[in-house]
Assembly symmetry: C2
Homo-oligomer: 401 residues x 2
């Protein structure tokens, strides 16, 4: 064990440093992209050609890495070949372009891909065996996730929980924890010097003491969150399959998505469903929002991700969950802020099939009392979201029912 | 899924109600036993005959349930026959006697055994299949653990995490969560009416922001906690094996343990290592304690449990961890309260091989910031505690290294 540890401590630390630096780069670039877009709204008119550019970028340089998160999960399940280093610049650039022109995408996909692909560059020089490479990739996932959201406990467990639905094994637990904690620290370190890197702080407000009614309400909300997660996963897969079927050239697919999103923005006269949507997420904790916001974000995101824009699903899932929770506060006698926090974690739990890391995420972002409500919502959402998650290469370790 | 849920919601709720009521009974009886013992210190002189009474009780009425926690784990792994209902009164009485006369034992074993054996009484009338009975028992474990410590998230995950080292599956996740949350509520409900049921509130105090140094210090402390956990498990097993080898009649074994503990109390002129030790645990968060307290408690508990006193290991493990953390504050530049909280969770994590539920326990009892330090300590402790935990029937799902 000591030999193993002496080996993994520096490796996981380096993985964390690389992932944390990549996440800081990503966060700064997205703040920049978002600020430019907000002050030049006409950029959204160029979303379709921007999508074409992203598609072309991957066609010309990124054939080997277009699998994205699924490529990483497949390499963990069945290690074959080192993930090309080019995954990192390509996904950072693709995500930047997607956000600059107003696609509705997230950032965890990017953080996971940079974390894992940078980590994997160590596997050759260090002559790691296949089982060791698996651990390395899981540590990269943990470090990417933990650093981009500022939630190292959730990131650490996410790296071991996301591989398979319904079970979890602890082979990589120590490297994942170390890489996630180091990654988070490194991103927070950069936040002191680089503008736009800081994490958003969410405030849940008063949390009522847990009661039988509280359990029942959290479970009912959890059903709604799980169904929203399932709707999102299925719609995204449907759009993706349809686009593949009717548009044979991959670089043209984001053009279709871009046109739809641009048209929808002008038809609605609103930009509230594009980009990361962090201001709306924050709003969902404090103010009454239109009850259909979650559906708007769900459709915009499925159209963006399903046609090939880059960035990931998780921040949009936070948005869908927080606004759905906000909407549920019209029906359920729980505070809107608490329901927003529960939805934030639980729609993600259902879509990624990661109830335990989602619970830890809720605890880290919202505290232990809100975390207890979120835990119930996460488990119920996980049960009701079906076996089709956002990560197609996730395996079914154990059926949910 | 709906049919399954409609079936499990009432079952898990009833499991929670029974376990929560049993935990309340246990907590009230232990407060009573502890108060009597503290005001009649001479009772410790009767620990050896009390041990004989406990042994005789199990010899006469409890042959079928003397396996205790291990019997429950074995039934989950390999369901054969319903756990006899008599497990509940026997373990409650055995634990009461153990505490009244000053054995160094805990209460989680009792809570798990009452939770699981009461739950199992439903399996006959409801005609549950073997796979369903496994879920029922896991829900009983979760409800017992969650209710006795007032930590439903930790209890819920404990029920699925304790079965095997190194992996975890989600079959029973919903019944375990529901039973644990209901169990906790029911115990808290009784606490309003019955004196002595309330949970202890621990205050960690200031937690420094996480730094690289913080990670390193938490990991170093985690090594110490893991080695203490391993020492405890091995010493307990050694004493148990030795007692079995040299004392053929089981009811005589606790006499030996009782004599040793009584003699040690008088030799030391101190009762600080007997019983639950909650006042010392609380003290460890606030004051400088003798650095050998953890070793004293470790030996007293191994002597008590290893010879057959009843109650369980976990509260003594909290004591060992909190006092060891307190002692480490002489060496490591972290606040004593934080180190006490980390040890509280992490020695338990190492001894029970349950790093994730221990992390949740820390978050629930001490908050998210201290929980982050505890998480690192729990994972490292888990890695360093070896493959021999306190539960002999726990299986090795995945080797630690």
């Amino acid at each position: 064990i000591l030999k193993d540890l002496v080996r993994w401590i520096p490796i996981a630390s380096v993985v964390g440093m690389m992932a944390g630096t990549a996440s800081a780069t990503l966060l700064a670039s997205l703040t920049w992209a978002t600020n430019i877009r907000e002050s030049h709204r006409w950029l959204i008119l160029l979303l379709a050609p921007a999508g074409w550019a992203v598609g072309l970028l991957y066609k010309l340089f990124g054939k080997s890495v277009e699998g994205g998160n699924n490529l990483i999960l497949e390499e963990v399940h069945d290690p074959r070949t080192t993930i090309p280093a080019r995954m990192t610049p390509l996904i950072l650039l693709g995500t930047f372009i997607s956000h600059l022109f107003g696609a509705s995408v997230g950032r965890e996909g990017t953080a996971i891909q940079t974390g894992a692909s940078l980590a994997d560059q160590l596997s050759g020089p260090l002559r790691l065996t296949s089982p060791e490479r698996r651990i390395l990739l899981m540590a990269g996932i943990s470090a990417g996730f933990g650093s981009v959201f500022g939630t190292p406990m959730a990131g650490a467990v996410f790296g071991i929980e996301v591989l398979a639905i319904g079970k979890l094994s602890y082979d990589a637990i120590a490297p994942c924890f170390l890489a996630a904690f180091v990654g988070d620290l490194v991103t927070r370190f950069w936040a002191r010097f680089v503008p736009g890197v800081a994490h958003t702080h969410y405030v849940v407000g008063d949390v009522p003491a847990m009661t039988v009614q509280g359990i029942v309400l959290a479970a009912i909300a959890g059903v709604a969150f799980g169904l929203a997660a399932m709707a999102f996963s299925r719609l995204t897969h449907f759009i993706s399959h349809t686009a593949r079927r009717f548009i044979s050239r991959p670089e043209f697919r984001p053009i279709a998505g871009g046109l739809v999103v641009t048209a929808a923005v002008f038809a609605l006269g609103s930009t509230r469903y594009i980009g990361l949507g962090v201001p709306i997420i924050v709003d969902a904790f404090h103010n009454k929002l239109p009850p259909y916001d979650f559906a708007g974000k769900l459709i915009f995101t499925a159209a963006s991700i399903g046609t090939g824009f880059k960035g990931g699903e998780v921040t949009p899932l936070f948005y869908i969950g927080a606004t759905l929770g906000n909407a549920l506060s019209r029906l359920l006698p729980l505070p809107a802020g608490l329901l927003a926090g529960m939805g934030f974690a639980a729609v993600f739990a259902g879509a990624a099939n990661t109830p335990i890391s989602s619970t830890l995420l809720a605890v880290e972002l919202f505290g232990g009392e809100a975390g207890a409500y979120a835990a119930i919502a996460c488990v119920v959402s996980y049960l009701f979201s079906g076996h089709t998650g956002i990560y197609g290469s996730q395996r079914v370790g154990r059926s949910k029912f």
